[in-house]
Symmetry: C2
Subunit: 175 residues, 2 copies
DNA sequence: CCAAGAGGAGAACGTGCGTTCTCCAGCCAC
DNA sequence: GTGGCTGGAGAACGCACGTTCTCCTCTTGG
């Protein structure tokens, strides 16, 4: 197994486990078992668990935003499509809220790299929405709706929070 | 020290520590030290840590909503006052986001009592907003804004997220 | 003054986990 | 074949923490 292949399998396993059960609830041994990569290789690729967590967050950020971007772009870059995408996401079987918000809650004082990954993810999403909506203030308002809908969908388990936010976004965009 | 006084001091210490550092990062010994209540009495009042966590959340729910209600009522029950209260909350020195959202993120599969406390808190807030705003759909939209602003203020550290949400709320209420 | 019990301080126990170490099997150059 | 290297499996170590246990010290009633 090549080192890059090992890294891929580690990140894949880490994402599945960390997102589903939370970072703290998943031991390095579980990542090892799920990925099939030996502990020695694991610690060669990621010298400490924090490094793996940060890599997990950064990779999830990339993929999450790529998926959103692709969906919205296919809808002609209509800002309201964001909420259609959210609705689909909330309906996925394993949906458990925003990985970054969850991680923020998990660590009282996150390691610097982890805190940075969380903040940068939110910055990237905000920047993306500002590109989608001409008016910056409106974009920030939509961002708040997106975050709110995600938190509430996670806690209540109801994907229709996306529809509620969508209706609000429609009004804000028309104003 | 009377048992009820011990319970009060335990809950006070638990809230300060759990909210500031996260539940998992705080050991029972830290609660004991902070409260000045012996471990024996602690375990008499709360047979397990989960019981203390659940009591912490339920007490915080009561006080948090009481504070919001009082502030908004003093503003003539204007729904927009909710966002003024949020702004104040976000500006407090120890602000670290919503305790319930943070706890939800901390526990992959929360104990039943804890999960119920989290869900019931959000239900109570939603019900309160529905009482404040005649139109139920609009109330739910404001709720989404409230949650979004709270999450973003916690992560970015910027209390002005409350103002962003307030502007959005103003538009939604006028529609 | 004594007996008995309550309550506190903190040691002790068991467990889980991040990280490191040990040992061994397989593979290469010669 | 043989000596040395790579990499895997999993034991071992150290620590933290939830929970329980032990012992000691006060208080109180007679």
């Amino acid at each position: 197994m090549t080192p890059t292949e090992a890294t891929d399998r580690l990140l894949e396993a880490a994402e599945e486990l960390f997102y589903a059960h939370g970072v703290q609830a998943v031991g390095m041994d579980a990542v090892r078992t799920r990925s099939g990569v030996s502990l020695k290789r694991l610690y060669q690729a990621f010298p400490a668990k924090n490094d793996l967590v940060e890599a997990y967050l950064r990779r999830r950020d990339e993929r999450w935003r790529a998926s959103l971007r692709a969906f919205v772009h296919a809808c002609g870059d209509d800002p309201l499509a964001v909420f259609g995408w959210l609705r689909n996401w909330f309906s996925e079987p394993g949906f458990r809220g925003c990985a970054f918000v969850n991680s923020f809650g998990e660590f009282g004082e996150p390691a610097p790299g982890i805190a940075a990954a969380i903040r940068e993810h939110k910055d990237h999403v905000r920047t993306y929405l500002r590109g989608l909506v001409p008016d910056q203030a409106t974009a920030d308002q939509l961002f708040s709706l997106v975050e709110g809908a995600t938190v509430l969908a996670a806690i209540t388990g109801d994907p229709r929070e996306a529809d509620t936010a969508r209706e609000a976004a429609k009004v804000l965009l028309a104003a």
